[in-house]
Amino acid sequence: MDFTLKIWRQENQKAKGRFETYKIKDISPDCSFLEMLDILNESLVDKLSHPVCFDNDCREGICGMCGLYINGRPHGPDDAVTTCQLHMRKFEGVDTITIEPWRAKPFPVIRDLVVDRTALDKMIQEGGYVSVTTGGIPDGNAIPIPKHKADQAMDSASCIGCGACIAACKNASAMLFVGAKVTQLALLPQGKPEAAIRVQKMVAKMDELGFGNCTNTYACEAECPKEIKRSNISRMNLEFILAKIVSEETI
């Protein structure tokens, strides 16, 4: 398969970026998208130029490190996959592929297609956990958890923190990301004691970091590689309202 690639190049955060065009030939349909970029990069090194920087690591769709905006969609044209799981066979009949970094104010470009996503960690640090320390805790079976609740919590916990939901959103809202963590922990007895304070702190941090609000377009849900449901946002809103109205703990 042959393609024309239009790739965003930007030296560093302050530099002015631009699209560069590259031609690439004889790509196997079984090749993954990132392997196609590897081939491009090897050819760039051959020509003594600087290869295209892009984040990637596990290449099996679980670490959340990769994330490219491909032909206008986060993680490209396939459903329920990360960029690393996307294969070139999905580009049958396509000539030009445009590749951009995640574009959102809280995700500044570091170089080319690499963006800074530490804002995600900062939101988790505001209480996206149960405040236990190591040791001194009861047996794992001491508190039974209904299977359906554990399963639902697992669905929310599947989030890989890639940021596609934010890149997809016209408001750069992080509500699906935050909602998934809030929901996971609110569903489990272990997360209950801190539920009210957690949701308030995480939402406050989300606002502070410059993420927008949800206006119910649900592009986040459509583009999430792990198919995290928008009901996580509803759950978060509910938890937030309850926390503000009912809870004695406010921030």
């Binding site: 560093n12 290869p51 099996e60 988790i124 505001e126 190591t134 040791g135 794992g140």
Partner: protein, 645 residues
């Protein structure tokens, strides 16, 4: 250089750890604040250690190669984590988990360490539940289990096919809590470049910022290496792209000895290689062997027809299928340990029965789907089936999966004593980065167990024991001459790589290394191949230092330079691996020497001559490393020939 003292406490096996804990030295809270610890690596072993040490009150700095701790490759572990809870009432116990682990490792692991691992494993499950990890549960709301290779009980806890993800996110949440509390400082996108040793003690590290190229110095009272394994020396492996053994090699250069480098695990169920462009291999969890049956055609003509695309596997009759694991190992069937399952697949493919391109066997769910229904299979393995379909473009509910062995895990690593301390005082190694618990073969679902056992429940004790003697030791300045020298050495190394401006890309050389290692130091080794590999690796090393091409500069984000640095260390490590594989004239676990087999084709151990840990000491650039031996004494376990029939 210190001698190899494993510092195993006296007494009965079951009492050693309890005694250790009750008699070890402690540090009072006011003094903890004066002591600094550096943790390198944010996977299970690193995050859990940093969070636990931070919570105790030490000043912890943790360094991450990626943008977030959650990217570490622990996240990709699929199947589960072992613990001897005996919730299933199927006869499990700490002793049995200990026995299975030692036997699974083919009697090449240290008894006392493994017993301690089995002992603390239960607490990991409790810890995980308390952190809000959504482990799989049954309809009564209690924790569910599945079976894994090398055991006859169900002791594996899991969270769908994403157990590693959930456990890592648990450790990451504990770490996030400590970062917020200010006890742990997090540094992302910084890679360790060198270890700083002052007066024989590890006192800090040099890092390189992967965004700016800046070299930085960090001092501490102790350093923890939680940097994972070196499976990427094979180029194609199930490891993530960033996984590397470079930091471990830096420690080896500074005097930390390297144990059993040749012990590499080849995982039996990976998606086969497709083309030259391939950058990595994807694992299909061992848990699939609970319900999937492994087979190749019984008739060689059928295999040939399948390879030529003339025959579909689903049309091969039941009686014409060779379920070779069930045939050869009736007691354990498809759940034999990984090394055995891998070799059996290679044996069938080498004999001409392979499918796909010749290097693949089937993993079939037909019987399981008939027995349990598609929904149940989807619930258990849904994400794995989806992953397979996305990569291979074949629906595994309808057609059998194709799998083949691939490099997965390294049992070898930095030599550590019972305290998890290396041969450099103050330098500790945890998780896959050390060597101590898995012998010559790791059992499935034991990597997560070991990483977290080390980080949550072992290191916080043993490191405190070390630091108790350091409360009067003042902080060392990073302006110190050892720091200056270390940074200078790193800079010189970087400059010399940039100055080569050769013809070959890093990836090309990396592929060449992978090829040598897979063909000559891979699944089936022999003296002839290994003797050939050693000069080939030396030549490759020479070629690297004279002909590598790295473009870009040293002062901005430059992944090519980062890869080149790791490759230089990987070539050197490969040389030690080949030497270690050559000296070990026996077959044990993942180390299979074709000259040393039984009449039935099984691995033949030589306990008389090789019941030791091969521990390699660096002797300087251009010098041959020296091997020391740590004899393994089995006081409590009855050493047997492994038998899974």
């Amino acid at each position: 250089m210190s001698t190899l003292d494993s510092k195993i406490p006296e007494g009965q096996l079951s009492e050693k750890w309890t005694k250790y804990k009750s008699s070890q030295k402690l540090v009072n809270p006011a003094n903890k604040r004066k002591l600094d610890v550096i943790v390198v690596g944010t996977g299970l072993a690193g995050s859990s250690a940093a969070a636990s040490l931070g919570a105790l009150g030490f000043n912890v700095k943790i360094f991450c190669i990626s943008d977030s701790p959650r990217r570490a490759h622990s996240i990709a572990a699929q199947g589960g984590i072992n613990a001897a809870k005996n919730y299933q009432n199927d006869g499990d116990s700490v002793e049995r988990l200990f026995n299975d682990t030692i036997k699974g490792g083919d009697y090449r692991a240290r008894e006392a360490n493994v017993y301690r691992l089995a002992e603390v494993a239960n607490s990991i499950i409790d810890q995980g539940v308390a952190q809000g990890i959504p482990f799989a549960r049954d309809y009564a709301g209690l924790l569910d289990n599945r079976s894994f290779g090398g055991s006859q009980v169900s002791r594996t806890f899991y969270a769908k096919g994403q157990t590693g993800q959930q456990l890592l996110l648990g450790a990451y949440s504990a770490l996030s809590k400590e970062i917020k509390a200010g006890t742990v400082e997090m540094y992302e996108r910084k890679e360790m470049m060198d270890l700083v040793v002052i007066d024989g003690q590890a006192r800090g590290i040099i890092t390189r910022d992967l965004q700016t190229g800046e070299l930085e110095r960090w001092s501490s009272h102790a350093v923890v290496m939680a940097t994972g394994g070196y499976g990427n020396v094979y180029f194609l492996s199930t490891n993530a792209m960033e996984c590397n053994g470079s930091a471990a090699v830096q420690c080896y250069h500074k005097g930390a000895m390297f144990a059993n480098p040749c012990f590499v695990q080849i995982h039996p169920t990976c998606i086969p290689v497709k083309g030259d462009y391939q950058s990595k291999l994807t694992l299909m969890s061992e848990s699939l062997r609970n319900d999937g049956r492994i087979w190749v055609p019984k008739n060689i003509e059928d295999s040939k027809a399948i390879r030529e695309g003339k025959l579909n596997p689903t049309s091969i009759k039941e009686e014409d299928r060779d379920y070779y694991l069930e045939r050869r190992y009736p007691a354990f069937g498809n759940l034999v340990p990984r090394d055995i399952a891998s070799r059996a697949a290679k044996e069938r493919c080498d004999a001409g029965y392979g499918v796909g391109a010749g290097f693949a066997v089937y993993l079939d769910f037909k019987t399981a789907i008939e027995r349990l229904g598609r929904d149940k299979i989807q619930e258990r393995y849904g994400n794995l089936f989806q992953m397979y379909e996305k990569i291979v473009d074949v629906d595994p509910y309808e057609n059998p999966m194709m799998i083949y062995p691939a490099v997965h895990y390294t049992m070898g690593g930095l030599w550590v004593d019972y305290d998890l301390q290396t041969t450099i005082p103050g330098l500790f190694a945890t998780g896959e980065a050390n060597f101590s618990d898995h012998g010559a073969n790791r059992l499935g679902a034991s990597a997560l167990m070991q990483g977290l056992a080390d980080g949550y429940f072992i290191l916080p004790y043993t490191m405190q024991n070390f630091l108790a003697d350091k409360i009067h030791q003042p902080r060392v300045s990073i302006e110190n001459k050892e720091f200056e020298q270390a940074e200078k050495d790193v800079r010189t190394k970087l400059e010399s790589i940039m100055a080569i401006k050769g013809e070959k890309t890093v990836d090309t050389l990396q592929r060449e290394l992978g090829h040598i290692m897979w063909e000559y130091v891979g699944m089936g080794r022999n003296a002839e191949k290994l003797t050939k590999a050693i000069p080939m690796l030396a030549a490759l090393r020479k070629e690297f230092w004279s002909n590598v091409r790295v473009t870009g500069d040293m002062t901005s984000m430059n992944p090519e330079l980062a890869k080149a640095l790791r490759l230089a260390d990987h070539i050197e490590l490969s040389q030690v691996m080949a030497k270690d594989a050559l000296q070990r004239e026996e077959s044990c676990g993942g180390h299979y020497r074709e000259e040393y087999v039984t009449d039935e084709g099984e691995a033949r151990r030589d306990d008389e001559k090789f019941m030791f840990v091969g521990v390699w000491e660096y002797k300087g650039e251009g010098q041959e490393p020296i091997m020391h031996k740590e004899e393994l004494n089995y006081e409590f376990i009855n050493v047997q020939q492994r038998n899974y029939k």
